[in-house]
């Protein structure tokens, strides 16, 4: 808040107290030693009229319970005027507070009629304002405490052992029951039936050969990558071909080369290569 004028220069040009934008300022502002740009930022930083009032009260070490309303009102209005000069968008709350201060001030000027018999003493016109200031100040202070708490991403970080993404992202697949296979096969067979009549020569199909063909599909895929069960079939081969492929898959599965899985009830089946250990068994 304190302006840092080049002190040497200041003594040279004793005409002014500070040099702002190349111009010597002749007089100190009464209570603000802030260059205009900083002043603007300073004024913008107020979180509303209560904040501004608390600032004025603290700055002068005034007891919050005994606010000299006339003086505070004068200062408050001069700040609000400054804000206007800087064309800060002045929240309506500032003007409302100005009105409240003016009202309290005028009430304080009026003589207080003696309280009638049995009636409570008239309250200090400042009481409500003091209550609000006190309440707001408590939260201002506790907000700072909150900011001091140990918090994640600033004071502490969760310690975690690295878990590879591929492991983490694999869906939890479960073993497949036989009826699920037949269910999936039904669709394949239905489509195969459409091709049957176009078959001219029925060439004998070797299951071993088909096993290799199926495995070729997995050759370039890393362990753990799944292929939809139905895409392993070539429906153009007709029923016979489909059955051969099925037997090949089941055989590969029995030998723990491939594994069948399903990630949801009635969901599509997936086939993937087993881990390397199992592959050795197959050879």
């Amino acid at each position: 808040m304190v302006l840092a004028p080049q002190q040497a220069e200041a003594t040279e040009a004793s005409a002014g107290v500070a040099k702002i934008r190349g111009e010597w300022v002749k007089e100190c502002p009464v209570d603000l030693y802030i260059p205009p740009d900083a002043l603007r930022i300073f004024l913008e930083a107020f979180e509303g009229p209560l904040d501004l009032l608390l600032y004025l009260i603290r700055k002068q070490n005034i007891d919050i319970l005994d606010i000299p309303i006339a003086e505070i009102t004068r200062q408050y209005l001069s700040y609000v005027e400054l804000m206007r000069e800087f064309q800060l968008e002045l929240a309506a709350e500032y003007l409302l507070m100005a009105a409240i201060l003016a009202e309290i001030k005028s009430r304080l000027l009026l003589p207080v009629p003696p309280a009638a018999e049995g009636e409570p003493e008239p309250a200090d016109p400042r009481a409500e304002l003091v209550r609000r200031l006190q309440e707001y100040e408590r939260f201002q202070r506790v907000a700072l405490d909150l900011d001091q708490l140990t918090r994640l991403e600033r004071d502490t970080w969760c310690a975690t052992a690295f878990v590879s993404q591929s492991t983490a992202c694999l869906p939890a697949l479960s073993p497949v029951a036989l009826h699920e296979i037949t269910h999936a096969l039904k669709d394949v067979l239905a489509r195969a039936a459409l091709y049957e009549k176009h078959r001219v020569v029925q060439e004998p199909l070797s299951i071993r050969e088909r096993m290799t063909a199926v495995l070729m599909r997995f050759q370039d895929l890393p362990v753990g990558v799944s292929v939809p069960f139905v895409t392993l079939f070539r429906v153009e081969e007709g029923r016979m071909g489909v059955v051969v492929t099925l037997i090949a898959i089941l055989e590969l599965s029995r030998q723990s080369v491939l594994s069948l899985q399903q990630d949801a009830a009635f969901g599509p089946l997936y086939v993937h290569k087993c881990a390397p250990v199992a592959e050795n068994n197959a050879l």
């Binding site: 979180e47 209560l50 319970l65 100040e137 909150l146 708490l149 918090r151 310690a159």
Partner: protein, 218 residues
């Protein structure tokens, strides 16, 4: 044969998020418990206590927050650690912190009530920011005209600020009142010598129990 401690430690590191008492217990019980002889809960608690003690002098600590136990780096080495990250930790404006404080201490609270105490309009962006961070959520509506939304804090908030529950929040300061401050000072003074002894500061022995005025100032 793995130990309970090793299992708990591995689970906490592998998940990288707080695990509740119950989840940790289930994990241990599933491994070693049977229907007739379940693992005693105390065994898991004891293992956690031992882990906590073992990690006491390490760079990471076992910390209990609202959602459960988690391993986290020691707060006192945060400074050097920050150099590892390009991004500086987020700073929150006074408006955000004050709004958060009001919601934390006065929940469930409506926007209007926040505004009444702060004396200014609460920008929608502030409430949105707090909600996006999942620190704050709408917990209900006050059944009055306009049905204002009521805000409350979440477990995410407690976890983020290293708290087990709202009662761990720093105490809300009493309203400033110079007379009260005086009273507090008066009541604190007689305690001062005892504290000074605890801190190893020599205290002048006073025979009649009167307390020298300087005693409270170490």
């Amino acid at each position: 044969m793995i130990s309970t401690k090793a299992l708990l430690e591995a689970a906490l590191f592998a998940t990288g998020e707080p695990l509740s008492d119950d989840r940790l217990y289930d994990l241990v019980n599933a491994e070693w418990g049977t229907e007739e002889t379940p693992v005693p809960r105390e065994e898991v608690r004891q293992a956690l206590r031992e882990l906590q003690a073992e990690y006491d002098a390490r760079g990471v600590q076992l910390q209990l927050v609202a959602s459960g136990y988690r391993f986290q780096t020691r707060p006192d080495i945060a400074g050097p650690l920050r150099r590892l990250w390009e991004k500086k930790p987020a700073r929150y404006s006074r408006a955000v912190l004050e709004t958060l404080a009001l919601i934390a201490y006065r929940q469930p609270i409506s926007r209007g009530e926040i505004e009444a105490i702060r004396g200014v309009t609460v920008a929608s962006s502030i409430l949105k920011q707090l909600q996006d961070r999942e620190w704050v959520t709408i917990v209900g509506h006050r059944e009055v005209p306009g049905r204002p939304a009521l805000f409350g804090t979440t477990k995410v908030f407690l976890d983020y600020f290293n708290l087990r529950s709202l009662s761990d929040l720093p105490p809300l300061p009493e309203p400033t009142n110079l007379e009260q401050v005086d009273e507090v000072l008066q009541t604190l003074m007689p305690l001062a010598p005892a504290e000074a002894v605890a801190e190893g500061v020599p205290v002048v022995e006073v025979a009649d129990g009167a307390i020298p005025a300087e005693a409270g100032i170490p």
